[in-house]
């Protein structure tokens, strides 16, 4: 569980995150949604420790980020996995090498153990056939799977995904969403996903916070979001033509 208390973050004098407080729950897929530019990535990077908030507190299972020194931060990082928007795979390494990488860099396991562990995770994301391919040789959906495998190979407590299904076709997007959801359950991870995709909201939005230009405008679940009367949220939810039509027939 991650608790966020009164986070403020500005860049060059302009406030990007305006006093955000919420909790992200363990074993659930927590979604941060909002229009492009609303501050989702900045919030995620604050949680990851890549940005230092101006003020406020982030508490990771009882451990506060305030007065944390460098080595505490490094230890905390090892509990985190991240799936980047563009997958961010190392393009000179094969699928297997990408997944082995964190184990190679950060553990003292021997080559054989590392290979076995990596293969297990690759099997989990169903990529056994692509194990020796380079990232440039596989599809966007497969790259995302590798990114997920690499993010969970260290058994993280926290999994962060920045728009994991951007650039994917709708069907593949749902498959990736479901995969992240299943993994969250299996490994009991606190998963936080940035998204502006209503499909993900409905499929896996167990806990949703809605950002509107840097403010938390709404929070709730996927069943609640469809019934809400908050205008800004409704505008966001029913911004697609398809859903507008669906709503008409409800």
């Amino acid at each position: 569980m991650i608790e966020v208390k009164n986070i403020i973050k500005s860049f060059d004098g302009s406030k990007i995150l305006k006093n955000i407080s919420t909790t992200f729950e363990k074993g659930k897929t927590n979604l941060i949604i909002g229009q492009s530019g609303s501050g989702k990535t900045v919030l995620l990077k604050c949680l990851l420790g890549l940005h230092q908030p101006d003020s406020g507190e982030i508490i990771y299972d009882g451990i506060s980020n305030t007065n944390m020194n460098e080595s505490d931060k490094t230890l905390l990082r090892r509990e985190m996995g991240m799936v980047f928007q563009g997958s961010a795979l190392f393009d000179s390494m094969s699928v297997l090498e990408n997944v082995m990488f964190p184990l190679n860099m950060l553990t003292n396991k021997n080559e054989e153990e590392i290979r076995e562990k990596a293969k297990l995770v690759i099997e989990r994301v169903e990529l056994n056939n692509a194990i020796n391919k380079l990232p440039s040789e596989i599809s966007g959906g497969m790259q995302k799977r590798v990114a997920i495998a690499r993010a969970i190979v260290m058994n993280p407590k926290y999994l962060f995904c920045d728009e994991p299904n951007s650039g994917l076709d709708p069907k593949t997007a749902i498959v990736i969403d479901k995969l992240i959801h299943e993994i969250t359950k299996e490994y009991n991870i606190t998963t936080i996903i940035n998204s502006h995709d209503m499909n993900s909201v409905i499929e896996i939005g167990e806990k949703i916070i809605f950002l509107l230009s840097g403010e938390k405008n709404w929070e709730g679940t996927n069943t609640e979001i469809l019934k809400t009367n908050v205008k800004s949220v409704k505008n966001f939810v029913y911004s697609s033509e398809l859903l507008k039509k669906v709503k008409k027939y409800l």
Partner: protein, 244 residues
């Protein structure tokens, strides 16, 4: 002001690249890979360029020493001097700023724009140590490249003179004439400084770049411009200090 910022950040980058080192097992692999990419793979082009430039230097010297009162051995002498003092260390380093430098900038820059550097950071790895440190170490072998350039260029001069009918004993005695070991020390001191510049300036341009694929190309060009300017200025300063 902008430049002062950059200079500060450049030295901070170098300092940071020595911190939080990767495990030796990983580090060793990275260093060997860089030695291959930056050093070994540069040898062929360096050898080809050196051979022909050495030949041209000898031909031009011969052309300017047309007086029958001047000994033919002066051709060997002048070729050796220009190759060891300037051509091999400085001229080759500028070419390497194009080859090695733009390779470093574009490979690190690509990692930056595709968030691979962020990925390293999230894993708790020091990306500067992972990316820059092995390049600095690999380029400790750069004097080897310059040594190849020196030998091949003088050999190129020798071959050109053989074709031109200059007796080989005259050329060889010229190569051995008035040999001053300090000139070699001067050349290698420069070479080591240039190696450090070649490893770090392009890394800086790649690591701190912003934007997308288009900007990677721009960063490589900018990196070449700065690397060669810095090499030329450092060359001037060192030469002033040591030889004038």
């Amino acid at each position: 002001m902008l430049y002062i910022d950059d200079i500060g950040r450049y030295f901070l980058m170098i300092k940071m690249s020595f911190f939080k080192p990767s495990k030796w097992k990983v580090q060793r692999k990275l260093i060997f890979k860089e030695i291959n990419d930056l050093i070994i793979e540069s040898i062929p082009i360096v050898a080809i360029l050196s051979f022909f430039i050495g030949g041209v230097v000898a031909i031009q010297t011969a052309l300017n020493l047309s007086s029958p009162f001047l000994s033919k051995s002066l051709i060997g002498f002048a070729t050796r001097q220009s190759v060891i003092l300037e051509f091999a260390p400085t001229f080759m380093s500028i070419i390497m700023a194009g080859k090695v430098g733009s390779y470093i900038t574009s490979s690190i820059g690509t990692m930056r724009v595709t968030e691979q550097i962020d990925a390293l950071e999230v894993m708790g790895i020091n990306p500067l140590n992972y990316l820059v440190f092995p390049k600095i170490i690999a380029l400790l072998f750069y004097p080897f490249v310059i040594t190849v350039a020196m030998f091949v260029a003088i050999f190129g001069g020798f071959v050109a003179m053989t074709f031109a009918g200059v007796p080989s004993e005259a050329f060889i005695s010229g190569i051995q004439m008035d040999f001053d070991p300090f000139h070699v020390s001067y050349a290698y001191l420069k070479t080591i400084l240039f190696a450090f510049i070649l490893a770090t300036v392009p890394s800086y341009h790649g690591f701190y770049m912003k934007g997308g694929a288009l900007e990677v190309g721009k960063a490589s060009t900018l990196s070449f411009v700065w690397t060669s300017i810095i090499i030329i200025i450092v060359n001037f300063i060192i030469t002033q200090l040591l030889l004038s």
